[in-house]
């Protein structure tokens, strides 16, 4: 059988290696295994960027019907990624800083960094500049769910917080809380400044 690229229903172009059966199995040889994991990492991040997916769970490998079926399964060659394999991939991504466990202190779900928080910070700041939202107070909800879709639509709040922290370090953002009890999403907002750039 020939190994060819394949375009999924969501318009994502799977690389030819995705139709190679051994690609879906953990490799006993450490060199081959690391090679395999780096290929998977690249594929997963590319797909996440394509579909704007932020979270990858072990559950996605265990059951079908999730967002990740197109990548984690290949029905044309009757293969799928086993949870243990996916777990190894996740671990490697976390050591490489391409993902973090979300929520922390568990190993079943990761938040994918197909853009690093530093890169997201630039995206967020340029969005705020373009929509003339500098120096005004914004709620997190306004950023994650704007009336006009933006590059930041549906970004997880935890990631957004991290991104704002990056901006705050360079004095380009400021977190404001209403001062009421508790400091959750319910009580906080952010203000952006034009900054030195």
């Amino acid at each position: 059988m020939s190994f060819t690229t394949h375009t999924t229903r969501s318009g994502f172009l799977l690389p030819s290696i995705h139709s190679v059966p051994p690609f879906f199995t953990e490799q006993p040889n450490p060199t081959t295994q690391s090679q395999n994991i780096s290929q998977w990492t690249r594929l997963i991040l590319a797909y996440a960027r394509h579909r704007r997916l932020f979270v990858l769970r072990l559950e996605d490998a265990e059951t079908s019907g999730g967002d990740w079926d197109e990548v984690l399964r290949n029905e044309r060659i009757n293969r799928r990624v086993l949870p243990s394999h996916l777990s190894a991939i996740m671990e490697s991504m976390i050591t490489n800083g391409q993902a973090v466990y979300e929520p922390p202190k568990q190993t079943r779900a990761v938040l994918l960094y197909w853009r690093l928080p530093e890169e997201w910070a630039e995206v967020l700041h340029s969005w705020a500049t373009d929509t003339a939202n500098l120096n005004t107070i914004l709620t997190f909800y306004e950023i994650t769910d704007p009336p006009v879709p933006s590059p930041l639509s549906d970004i997880p709040i935890t990631l957004l917080r991290r991104v704002i922290a990056v901006l705050a370090k360079t004095g380009r953002a400021q977190v404001i809380s209403t001062g009421r009890t508790g400091s959750g999403e319910e009580n906080e907002g952010v203000r952006f400044f034009s900054g030195g750039k």
Binding site: T136, I137, L138, T139, Y141, E142, D145, A168, G171, Q174, V175, I176, S177, T178, G179, E186, N187, E188, G189, R191, F193, G195
Partner: protein, 260 residues
């Protein structure tokens, strides 16, 4: 974060605005929830109808109607809130405009304090005086000068006049008047005047012709450029030199020594 000097302090105003916006967001989320309920009730009504339970479908639709009413109410509330938010933001803009105006006014006052009308008048007066003084000095000096040098000027004038008697430059009119007469007097050739003067010699001038004026004076025409006779009259007028016959003065090409 407070250490960074560029971030302004969070004021109570900011907190109030944030609170309002959060309320607004909550309302929006609530609306979304109601929308979900609306859709769900619609589905329920449909499925009941399909299974023939008409009364249950009616109940579902009633609930749906109620939720729809809620949605309308929240819409009105949302409008209120958003109006309030935009009013506050606009007021903030107005405040900053006012602040800017105030500052500008103060700066203007400061400048005016330094530059009152009296001092300006005084300054102008002083300038005027200085100018008059300068003019007086100038007059004095010029008077003196003219007195002193009047004689010298007169002398220079006389010298120039005497030079002009024996030497003057050919002007255009001189040539146009003189050349045709010259040609007529020496006409020998069979045809036009342009060829009647005979070529005499080839000195260091490029072109040299013997000529005699109608008053009988003989001379040599010297042309700095070798050119057809008829064209020098129009083109080379100003460089045409006439000197007395026999006087081949090579360095007098810009002056006429004799012509009558």
């Amino acid at each position: 974060m407070g250490a960074i000097q560029s971030t302004p302090k969070v004021t109570a105003q900011d907190r109030a605005i944030l609170d309002l916006k959060l309320q607004r967001d909550k309302l929006k989320q609530y609306q979304k929830k109601i929308q979900v309920i609306l859709d769900r009730e619609h589905e329920i009504a449909k499925s009941h109808l399909a299974s023939g339970q008409k009364d249950r479908a009616v109940i579902a639709l009633r609930r749906r109607k109620y939720q729809q009413g809620l949605l309308g109410k929240t819409d009105a509330q949302l409008e209120n809130l958003e109006q309030l938010v935009s009013t506050i933001e606009f007021s903030l803009v107005e405040v900053s405009v006012l602040h800017g105006l105030k500052q500008g006014n103060e700066v203007l006052k400061e400048i005016h304090r330094e530059m009152n009308v009296e001092s300006v008048e005084k300054l102008l007066e002083e300038t005027q005086e200085a100018r008059e003084y300068q003019r007086e000095i100038g007059e004095l000096l010029s008077n003196q000068l003219s007195l002193d040098e009047e004689d010298a000027v007169q002398a220079e004038l006389k010298e120039l006049q005497s030079q002009a008697v024996c030497s003057f430059r050919f002007t255009k009119e001189c040539i146009t008047k003189f050349i045709p007469r010259l040609l007529r007097s020496r006409a020998k050739g069979p045809k036009s005047g342009s060829t009647c003067l005979q070529y005499q010699s080839h000195s260091r001038f490029l072109h040299c012709r013997k000529a005699k004026s109608d008053t009988g004076s003989r001379g040599v025409l010297l042309f700095p450029h070798k050119c057809p006779y008829h064209s020098y009259v129009s083109i080379e007028l100003e460089r045409l030199i006439v000197i007395p016959y026999g006087h081949v003065a090579l360095n007098v090409c810009t002056s006429v020594l004799f012509l009558k």
